[in-house]
């Protein structure tokens, strides 16, 4: 039973270049409905870029992206992004708006809700991440962990079918990481389809259903956490794991 209207996301043979820099070289990724895929790999391996291509913040040069088996490359990209929530390393909350306005902005402007309805929805969403009491505060007056939970609430408010996390805990002080990871774990267990780019090997190993190891724009290994962490097949993954663990 899922609390969310999750979807299945598939990326096929994704290629992307920035000038002469071939950043993604034929990436395949399949995330079954209600599961969590974590993407690990060294900096500059193309993990964050892959997320941005899959919600078409960046258009792929080649390849296909499917949501529930249907290609979305011909859709309006703005409408596609309403179906995919994204959480960033630097939170990217709107500093000139209150916490509640951060969450309700898209509900009002994109879902056409009334101001009251949008606020009510936003408060419910904030309650879910334990920050309803901060609804009228400014982001700058929140700790990093609280800001990231607001960012998660902002993305969830749009009732996305898939959630992307781009190193969501990398900018947090160590003592604040736990709360955000706990929330992400809840979402995963609640049946949200998630793609999590992370350096948190504990989360990747214990919470995700599949792990994908990327290096230099290609998928080097993909499989269950057990396979990748306990029995890595390639030297590149072995080397990476010995560096980070």
């Amino acid at each position: 039973m899922s609390e969310f209207a999750s979807g299945t996301l598939t990326a096929k043979n994704i290629h992307l270049s920035f000038g002469s820099n071939h950043v993604l070289r034929g990436i395949d990724l399949h995330v079954e409905k209600g599961t969590t895929a974590s993407v690990i790999g060294p900096s500059g391996s193309g993990k964050s870029t892959l997320l941005r291509v899959m919600n078409r913040l960046i258009e792929p040069a080649q390849g296909d992206i499917l949501l529930d088996g249907r290609s979305v490359l011909k859709d309006n990209p703005d409408e596609l992004r309403r179906r995919i929530g994204m959480v960033f390393q630097q939170f990217n909350l709107f500093p000139h708006k209150t916490v509640a306005e951060n969450v309700s902005l898209a509900l009002r402007k994109l879902r056409g809700m009334s101001k009251e309805q949008a606020r009510e929805d936003a408060l419910a969403q904030l309650d879910l991440v334990g920050l309803k009491h901060k609804a009228d505060a400014r982001p700058a007056n929140l700790s990093g962990g609280q800001q990231q939970r607001v960012a998660i609430a902002r993305a969830l408010a749009m009732k996305p079918e898939v959630m992307f996390f781009d190193e969501a805990t990398s900018a947090l002080d160590p003592e604040l990481v736990k709360g955000v990871l706990a929330l992400m774990t809840d979402l995963a267990k609640g049946g949200m389809t998630m793609v999590v780019v992370t350096h948190e090997m504990g989360f990747s190993r214990n919470v995700s259903d599949t792990v994908t190891f990327m290096d230099a724009g290609v998928v080097v290994e993909t499989g269950s956490p057990e396979q990748l962490f306990s029995a890595p097949r390639t030297d590149r993954l072995k080397g990476f794991l010995s560096d980070v663990l």
Partner: protein, 257 residues
Amino acid sequence: MDLQEILKQLGETFLDWKAIGEVIPKMFAVGLPNTIVLAVTSGVIGTVLGMALALMGISRNPVARWIARIYTDVLRGLPPVLTILVIGLGFGPIIRQLSGSTSPYPLAVAALSLMSAAYIGEIFRSGIQSVDKGQLEATRALGFGYGPAMRLVVVPQGVRRVLPALVNQFIALIKESSLVFLLGLLASEREIFQIGKDAASTSGNLSPYVAAAIFYLAMTIPLTHFVNWIDRRLRTGRPEKKEPDEAAAVVGKGAQA
């Protein structure tokens, strides 16, 4: 000529209270309203045009970028007096033929607006470009198009940051509005500077200029302090204590896992 005589002469030239007193009623009745109308109208038009120039300047369309760039370079590079004369005298006959109006007043407003638009455009552009790229990205990730994302999230933050510079530009505009005397305004259209100038030339005494100076300072000094106040407020913000992340660990069921 000894010191006392010099001081006496300066006093008579600049601080002839009678001459100042005579010009003040007209300053209030005619000069001040005209200066305010000129500065506010061209300030508003300049802000609207400036925002358009700023958005063109950061647009992905190279033609729009070039138009904004050339406009800004030319209008910022010319002395204000030249711009006012060229627009006022050059377009005067055309406007006269089209509208039948002989008043150079609209042309004065146009010249001031076009000049300030160039400066205000650069102010807005620098403000908008200083907003972190993540803001646009996060807004677009929610499903907003480029236009709405700029309008709702990026531009408001950029404008807020440059409010001090914008008010400084309005101060400059109040001062530059004095240059429109060059266009030969009708008696009822004259602003503070020209009222002072007229009175000075009829009386042969410079004290009316001092009166004009007082009127300008009464507008510009409060604005200058207003700028400093916004600047301070933007820099320090309203202080509020950050709370520790008390609820963090207990939110998720995952916390106990």
